[in-house]
Symmetry: C2
């Protein structure tokens, strides 16, 4: 309870985030959201102007924080390696670590947010427009850093590599519980430490394999 009291806007964003993550945009009604938030139905339209603007506000809220943190870390690893380009491992670390840190140390809302992001990223309806609006500028800088770290790789290989990288990431964030079932409980989707130990090595090795293909 750090904050004095949540505003109506925040209550709506929190409830919407959780429910959109669970059932998607069309599977969640404004009445379900406002009931969970404990506010009146009409307040969605007053504060956000409609259902879709609320959805976009949910994506934008933590997206901005994530972009900030990612760029901060990218600058740090570049500074540490200068004048040489940052290594592939360091760049993918700067891309993944903010997410993993938020999941491990910050409020539960990030879990819902990333789960929602996973679904949005894989959806033809939202994937291009919504992900692009929030993340393209940042992502392009990471792709550029990846190219510099892999000078022998063709640009197409890096673009495709980024596609694989973000696919591997988002499925891991989706919290489908599938991994738990497949491994008969040996692995747990929610085990952030286990994910952290493996995602970076997998992706870095994959990118190098692609570059030296």
């Amino acid at each position: 309870m750090a904050r004095a009291r949540r505003t109506t806007k925040e209550k709506l964003l929190d409830a919407a985030e959780k429910l959109f993550a669970r059932k998607g945009y069309h599977g969640t009604s404004l009445r379900t959201i406002t009931r969970a938030a404990g506010v009146d139905l009409a307040l969605v339209n007053y504060h956000f102007g409609g259902k879709q603007p609320l959805f976009e506000a949910v994506l934008e809220r933590r997206g901005a924080l994530l972009n900030e943190e990612r760029l901060r870390r990218l600058a740090a690893v570049r500074r540490a390696a200068a004048p040489a380009p940052a290594s592939t491992e360091a760049v993918v670390g700067a891309f993944f670590d903010p997410i993993l840190d938020f999941l491990e140390h910050a409020d539960r809302g990030w879990h819902s947010y990333f789960s929602l992001l996973a679904e949005v990223n894989n959806s033809p309806e939202w994937g291009k427009r919504m992900m692009g609006k929030t993340f393209n500028a940042t992502v392009k800088q990471f792709i550029e850093a990846l190219m510099q770290s892999l000078p022998e790789a063709a640009p197409q290989d890096v673009y495709w590599g980024y596609n694989f990288l973000t696919g591997a990431l988002t499925l891991s964030l989706a919290e489908t519980g599938r991994l738990d079932v497949l491994s008969d409980g040996l692995c747990r989707s929610a085990d952030v430490a286990a994910l952290r130990a493996r995602l970076g090595p997998f992706v870095a090795a994959g990118l190098r394999g692609l570059a030296g293909r």
Copy 2:
């Protein structure tokens, strides 16, 4: 026009497949589907018993074909390598190639199907139950083959590796068009040959990197 005439069931499955892929389960109404299929609204309940059974039938139809083809190829690469275990590259090839071949040589319906699969796989609502029902038995055989191809890897590494692998695959199948935007048209999401040339090397290298971590 190979078939004499599509039955009502097939018309419904085809239309539902395309529309579910575009807007998801909740974003698609039965009226939209039946209008696209050119059949009466009530026929969904007559032939399938409701909206959800129709959705499951869509996933099941091509899923069964995909499982068959995957297992056929897995058996082939195992036979070719016997008595040694099949290589990691050969196993991931047996997993990916049926999809890539269907996309390149078979009817357009596979595009919609895989796009839908990408969304389902990343959704908390469907990811565990629906994917598991159709694919778990087959997937477990591939994971076992991967373990045999990487005897130095811990089982947890292979489970997580499979998770990354299928994440990279499904995002590539989602047809969000995001890759096209990010690369300013240099790469095209729909370019199956470009995907085929890169997905296998990326994933095999990633798995090896994970095993030797």
